[in-house]
Amino acid sequence: MKNWLKDLRYWLQENLFFSYKNSILSVVAGLFLFWLAYQLVNWFFLQAVWVGTIEDCRIHQEGACWPFVQVRISQFLYGFYPSEERWRVNIILFIFFAGIGLLVYERTPYRGKIVFFMLCVFPLLSWLVLRGGILWLTDVPTGRWGGFMLTLVLASVSIVSSLPLGILLALGRRANSLPFVKAFCVVFIEFWRGVPVITVLFATAFMLPLFLPASVNFDQLLRAMVGFILFSSAYMAEIVRGGLEGLQRGQYEASDALGMSYWQSRTRVILPQALKLMIPGILLTIIGLFKDTTLVLIIGLLDFLGMIQAGIADPRWGSPNVPFTGYAFAAIVYFCFCYSMSIYARYIEHKFSEGRERR
C-alpha cells in the first residue's frame, strides 16, 4: 500500500510538478479538465431528461433530451425502411457483426472460408435480402433505405472494394514495363485525387444518368457507391504505393533471383511486407471514408446524420436541447465506431511488428 503511494508521489513529482512553471500549468490544465468533465457529465447525465415527452424537455432545458432519441431510434437506424420488413435488416446486421467478430478473434476455425463468405457471398446476399423483390420478399427500393444501415452499407462496400482496386492501381502505377497501364493508372489516380469528394458524388449522381440511355434505371444508391469506390480507390492506391516504395530494393531483387513470377513475388513477398507498413495509412483512409459517407446527404440520401438532422426539423420536437442531443448522439456513435476500428488497427500493427526490430 505504502509502496503504491510512494510510486504515485514519485510519478506526480516527475511528470506534473517538477518545476514552478510546470506545476502552474498542471493545476490550470487539471482544473480545466475537471470543469469540462463536470459540464459534460452534468449535461449528458445529471440534468438530462431520460424519460418523458417534449414538454419535459422544454422544462428542463439545461440537459440532454434523451426521449427525442428514444422515440426516433428506429428511424435513425433503419431510415424509412418499412417497419414490418426490418427483421431483414436485423438479420443482415447480425451476420455482418458476427462475421467481423469471428474474423477479429484469431482462433476461429475456418477463418479463410469466413473471409471468402464475408467478401464474396455476403455482399450479394445482403443486397438481395435488403432490396427484396425476389421470392416472397417484398421489394424495398433503396430510396427507403436510410439511417445507420445506409451508412454501414455505403462504408463497408466502398472500404471492401477500394482496397483491392487500390492495390491493382498502385501496382499498375509502378509497372514501368507496361506504359499504357501505367499511364492509365497515373491519370486515374491523379484525376480522382484532384477532385473533391462532393464533386465526385455530384457527378456520379447527376451526370451519369445523362450519359446512359433514358430507359436505364440506375439506382441512386449504386451511383453514390460507384462515386465513393472510385474516389477511395485512388486514395488507397497512393497509400499502397507508399508502402511499396518503403520496401528495400533487395526484396524485389531477391524474389526475382529466386525465379518467382511477377504475381508470385507480389503476392508472397512484396505485398505482405508492404501491407504491414500501410496499416496506419489504410486505417486513416477507412475512417475518413466512414465519416465521408455523410456527404450523401447532399445528393438526397438520408444516412445516419441525415436522419438525425431531419428528425431535429420536426416542429413537434421544438426545444433548444433537441438539436444538441441529436448531434451529441451522432458524435457518440461515430466515435465508438471509429475508435474501435482504430484500436483494432493498432493491435494488428503491434502484432505484425513483433519479431521485427522497430525502426
Binding site: 455482399p123 450479394l124 462496400v157 472494394s161 491493382l168 444518368p209 431531419a310 420536426d314 433548444p320 438539436p323
Partner: protein, 363 residues
C-alpha cells in the same frame, strides 16, 4: 497470419470487384429478371412524365431534407408537411391512392439538377418562384402553394416595434441565401447600420440568436415561426410586422412537358377550389350526387376532365379531396394555428376571406 494467407486474402479481396461489376451490368440491363432495381427515374424523358409515372406506379417527389411544417419525418417515420401533402394530392389525382409517392429529400443545391435529370418527377420543396428560375433554368412553376415572405424576429426587451427602428443591430442569418441579400438590401435602402452574422445551418443560426450573439434573426416568416419553438423561451421573442421580400413557394416541374405540368397545376387548383366550394374530406362523399353543376363537375359525375388531363379517372379531384383534403385542411394540419408553427392564414387565405389564394374555375 502468414504471408501465404495474406496472399490468399488478396485474391479473395479482388473477387468483390468481379461481383461489383457483375451487379452493375445486371442493373444496367433493363430486361433484368429481378426487375425494379432502380429507385430513381432514369434520364430525360421529356414530354412523357405522366406515362412514365403511371408505368412505374408511383410519383418520385422531391422535398426538403427537413423543414418544419413543409416536409419533415414525424415520430412514426412518415413524411409530413404541406409540401409532402401536396405530393400526396398529386398521387391521389393520378392513382386514386395518396400513398403512391416516393420522397427524395433534396438539398437546396441539387434540387433543380434532380428535377432536370429526371431523378424526381415533381419538386415540392419550398422553392421560391422567381423570374430567373422560371425563365433561365428550364423549370416550370405551376402555381403557389404557400405565400411566404422574409421577416424579422427580435427579443422583446430590445424595445423595437418595427423593422425601421432596427439601427446599429447585428443580424443572424444563413450564408449564401437570398435571405442574406434581402436583409442587406433592406438595411441599405433605409440607411440603417447593421452587421450580418451568418452561419451555414439553420440550427447554428438559432443557437447563435438564442445565445444573444445577435439582436435580430431574419429568415422566411414560416421559418421564423418554426425556429421560434426551438428557443429557450419563445415568449420573450416577437416577429416584427414588416415583410421585406416576396417568397411565393410553389411546386415545380420540368419545362416542356405540358401534360404533366397541367396535372400538377390542376391538382393545386382543385385543392383551392375545393376549399372555396366548401368540399372537405368529411363531406365530399355525400356530395357525389349533388345537383349543383359546379360540384358535379368537380366530383366527376359530369364532364370528362380527368380524361382531358390524361388521367384514368374522371373523379380525380374527388379522390384528392376525399383522401387528402382541401387546401384549408392541409394548411390546418401542417402549419396552421393549431400546429407548433401556429401560422395564421394571412395572405394564404382564400380571396373570399381576405387572402390572395385564387384558383381558375374547373369547367
Amino acid at each position: 497470419m502468414t504471408f501465404k494467407s495474406i496472399g490468399r486474402g488478396l485474391i479473395a479481396f479482388s473477387l468483390p470487384i468481379v461481383f461489383a461489376l457483375g451487379t452493375l451490368s445486371f442493373t444496367l440491363n433493363p430486361a433484368s429478371a429481378l426487375g425494379g432495381f432502380g429507385g430513381g427515374g432514369g434520364g430525360g424523358g421529356y414530354g412523357k412524365t405522366l406515362e412514365e409515372v403511371k408505368d412505374k406506379g408511383y410519383i418520385q417527389c422531391g422535398v426538403s431534407q427537413g423543414l418544419p411544417g413543409f416536409s419533415n419525418p414525424d415520430d412514426a417515420g412518415n413524411w409530413s408537411g404541406i409540401d409532402v401533402e401536396f405530393c400526396n394530392a398529386v398521387a391521389a389525382a393520378v392513382f386514386g391512392d395518396p400513398t403512391k409517392v416516393q420522397f427524395s429529400p433534396l438539398s437546396a443545391k441539387v434540387r433543380f439538377e434532380s428535377l432536370r435529370s429526371g431523378e424526381v418527377d415533381l419538386l415540392a420543396r419550398n422553392t421560391t418562384w422567381t423570374f430567373d428560375r422560371d425563365v433561365a433554368l428550364g423549370l416550370e412553376f405551376v402555381g403557389v402553394n404557400y405565400y411566404d415572405g422574409q421577416g424579422f424576429m427580435v427579443r422583446r426587451n430590445l424595445g423595437v416595434n418595427s423593422a425601421f427602428e432596427l439601427n446599429n443591430v447585428s443580424v443572424c442569418t444563413n450564408t449564401g441565401t437570398t435571405t442574406e441579400l434581402n436583409a442587406a438590401d433592406f438595411f441599405r435602402a433605409n440607411k440603417l447600420k447593421y452587421k450580418i452574422v451568418a452561419f451555414e445551418k439553420a440550427d447554428e443560426v438559432v443557437a447563435a440568436y438564442d445565445a444573444e450573439r445577435c439582436d435580430v434573426y431574419t429568415t422566411d416568416r414560416s421559418g421564423l415561426a418554426a425556429q421560434r419553438t426551438k428557443l429557450a423561451n419563445p415568449r420573450e421573442h416577437k416577429v416584427l410586422p414588416e415583410i421585406i421580400s416576396k417568397e411565393p413557394l410553389g411546386p415545380v416541374v420540368r419545362q416542356g412537358d405540358e401534360q404533366w405540368a397541367d396535372v400538377v397545376r390542376w391538382t393545386l387548383n382543385a385543392l383551392i377550389n375545393a376549399e372555396e366550394m366548401g368540399l372537405t374530406s368529411a363531406n365530399i362523399s355525400s356530395q357525389k350526387n349533388s345537383d349543383n353543376p359546379k360540384v358535379r363537375r368537380f366530383v366527376g359525375t359530369e364532364g370528362e376532365f380527368g380524361t382531358a388531363l390524361g388521367l384514368d379517372d374522371n373523379a380525380w379531384a374527388y379522390n384528392i379531396v376525399e383522401k387528402v383534403g382541401n387546401y384549408g385542411e392541409i394548411y390546418e394540419r401542417t402549419v396552421g394555428p393549431k400546429t407548433p408553427l401556429g401560422l395564421s392564414r394571412g395572405a394564404n387565405a382564400l380571396w373570399t376571406n381576405g387572402g390572395i389564394l385564387y384558383a381558375p374555375p374547373l369547367r
